[in-house]
């Protein structure tokens, strides 16, 4: 298998484009997501995105805040206990972003259906009889909407049942805790829908907290839920989920979570945030300096760090990684 380790800049340049259907993963609103990848998309000025978010995170909140999202399919648009996602909320309320609402179970089922190359996926009752079935952002003039969740007849019982369309994003950027240079990856914490996403997307880019030796995968093959066989590129970006948390590695930065979201209330606040926290760094070192040593110490000292212990011996150093990045095939 080939070495797929490339830089963040290269990955975003190669695997994203204006108007694409992009999906991020993504463990619920405040957990593991490829947020650094989203920052780089803003740096490279991507726009007109058709986004698939199982849940909103600070990534989609940022992309919406800067006006890069034309349309979003989403299961949950908030930030849990942190409140509404102001960037996304504003984009939807102003009509800049068309929202097509699904539930948190519906989106991963649609990923699963895409992964299986099915023509549709049974809803199993999800969203049935609700405005989520009847309101379509794509077809606002039709109420109740008939094509968002069309009904078919179950051939075994004759009963009517609703189905979903399947999802096949152009590219998924998925956060994982550890990856090797071939794209074999281990997630700690809930997978959420990252397994399904890694199989339904046409191209898959991993954003990893750590690059590990493949020996780690050979010791723990059952943990490798995303094998390199389905991965196109691997990016190393430490603390790449910040200000959200990566189970086993770092905690949420509560202060920045609130500040970031507060900034997105207005275009001005967003512009200021982007200047300060998106355009202000070029390298991983500068990114970490931006977060700050004290903050990093605080969030990396958390009650889940023991979960990383079995794997530490295989972690590659920054110097090794730099060399490997230069030798991607």
């Amino acid at each position: 298998m080939r070495n797929k380790l490339i830089t963040m800049q290269e990955a975003v340049a190669k695997y994203t484009w204006d108007g694409m259907t992009y999906a991020h993963g993504g463990a619920l609103p405040v957990g593991s997501d490829s947020i650094a990848f989203g920052r780089e998309m803003v740096r490279q000025g991507r726009k007109n995105l058709n986004l698939i978010s199982n849940c909103n995170t600070q990534q989609s909140n940022l992309l919406a805040a800067v006006g890069a999202i034309k349309r979003i399919e989403v299961g949950f648009a908030g930030l849990e206990v942190y409140g509404f996602a102001n960037g996304l909320k504003r984009a939807i309320e102003t009509g800049q972003t068309i929202a097509e609402d699904y539930s948190n179970g519906a989106i991963p089922l649609r990923f699963l259906g895409g992964a299986l190359n099915w023509p549709f996926v049974p809803a199993g009752g999800i969203m049935v009889g609700c405005d989520q079935q009847w309101c379509s952002g794509d077809n606002p003039d039709e109420y109740p909407a008939t094509n968002k969740m069309p009904e078919i007849t179950d051939p075994f019982t004759g009963r009517k049942v609703a189905v979903f369309s399947v999802a096949k994003p152009d590219v998924a950027a998925i956060h994982v805790t550890m990856a090797d240079i071939y794209g074999n990856a281990i997630m700690l914490g809930t997978e959420w829908s990252r397994y399904e996403l890694s199989r339904c997307a046409k191209k898959v880019v991993l954003q990893a907290d750590f690059i590990v030796d493949t020996d780690c995968m050979r010791q723990y093959p059952n943990l490798v839920r995303i094998p390199g066989e389905v991965v196109d590129a691997v990016v190393y970006w430490p603390l790449g989920v910040w200000p959200q948390c990566s189970v086993g590695v770092y905690d949420s930065d509560e202060e920045h979570m609130f500040a970031m979201n507060a900034a997105f209330k207005t275009p001005e606040g967003t512009e200021e945030y982007v200047q300060k926290y998106v355009l202000s760094y070029n390298t991983r070192e500068e990114y970490l300096a931006m977060i700050g040593k004290e903050k990093i110490e605080k969030i990396t000292n958390n009650p889940t760090t023991f979960l990383m212990d079995p794997y530490r011996k295989w972690i590659k150093s920054d110097d090794e990684i730099k060399e490997l990045e230069g030798r991607a095939e």
Partner: protein, 263 residues
């Protein structure tokens, strides 16, 4: 005794949960209520989150989300969203769930998607933009269609308790009666709405929610005044027992950061 409305709401919700049940909690208040029950009287309550975090209890206070480190530090299993929400919940397998609501109607339908200024989609016959965009259903829709029963927690305010919600994000009994069967939902529907003022329960036949009990610091009148439909009152309406000292102690041990103590 010194406790807040939110604390009694959480305790009253926790009292609805029984030992040995398979239970799913949403984020925030509902998670505190659930883990309070596990700590207080239901040690064998099997709790999981919609992310598929099994066997854990919060560490260091209210989790910021249902997958953050405070809830991931001592899990026995991490699976995924389809496993938790579709295989265990939407399938009809989970005993009980707890969800929140921004707006709720007399048949227990929940709106967490948007508040419309003028005409709602069902009034307008088209999907106009909401005045206030809310979060969407998240995993509450799966809980609402699939759990054998579920409990809704909401602040008791007139604007939230509507005759008919602007948008059904998660179904209660839709238009009442046997409507759930019509849609083939495997779950039984909402068994209680627990508010900052009291407890509402569904009529066994019509499925319209009536007042079953009010909090010691509340009254039937206050509740009727804060409800947007003509709320029926049970002939056997009760006062919800005050929290015991043990209950308060257990709740506050779960609510380390005191998020419910802010009145």
């Amino acid at each position: 005794m010194d406790y807040t409305r939110q604390e009694l709401m959480a305790i009253a919700t926790g009292r609805e949960l029984r030992d040995g049940e398979l239970a799913i909690f949403g984020v925030g208040l509902s998670m505190l209520a659930g883990y309070f029950a596990q700590k207080n009287h239901a040690p064998n309550l099997m709790a999981f989150t919609e992310g598929g975090v099994f066997g854990s209890t919060p560490v260091g206070g209210l989790p910021w989300g249902i997958e953050d480190n405070r809830i991931s530090a001592n899990a026995t299993s991490f699976t995924n969203a389809i496993d938790a929400l579709c295989v265990l919940v939407a399938s009809g397998r989970c005993d009980v769930g707890i969800i929140g609501a921004a707006q709720i109607d007399k048949y227990g339908n929940v709106n967490t998607t948007g508040i419309w200024a003028g005409e709602t989609p069902w009034q307008a016959g088209r999907y106009v933009l909401p005045r206030v965009r809310l979060n969407g259903s998240g995993g509450a829709n799966e809980i609402a269609i699939g759990c054998k029963r579920y409990i809704i927690m909401a602040a008791h305010e007139k604007k939230r308790f509507a005759d008919k919600v602007d948008y059904i994000s998660s179904p209660g009994y839709i238009n009442g009666g046997h409507d759930r069967q019509k849609y083939g939902f495997p779950g039984g529907g909402p068994s209680a709405i627990i508010t900052t003022l009291g407890i509402l329960r569904p009529d066994p036949v019509t499925k319209e929610f009536y007042l079953d009990a009010y909090f010691p610091f509340s009254s039937i009148e206050e509740i009727k005044d804060n409800t947007g439909w003509d709320l029926k009152v049970s002939p056997n309406v009760k006062v919800v027992p005050e929290p015991t000292e043990q209950e308060l102690k257990n709740l506050r041990e779960v609510d380390v950061t005191g998020s419910l103590r802010k009145k």
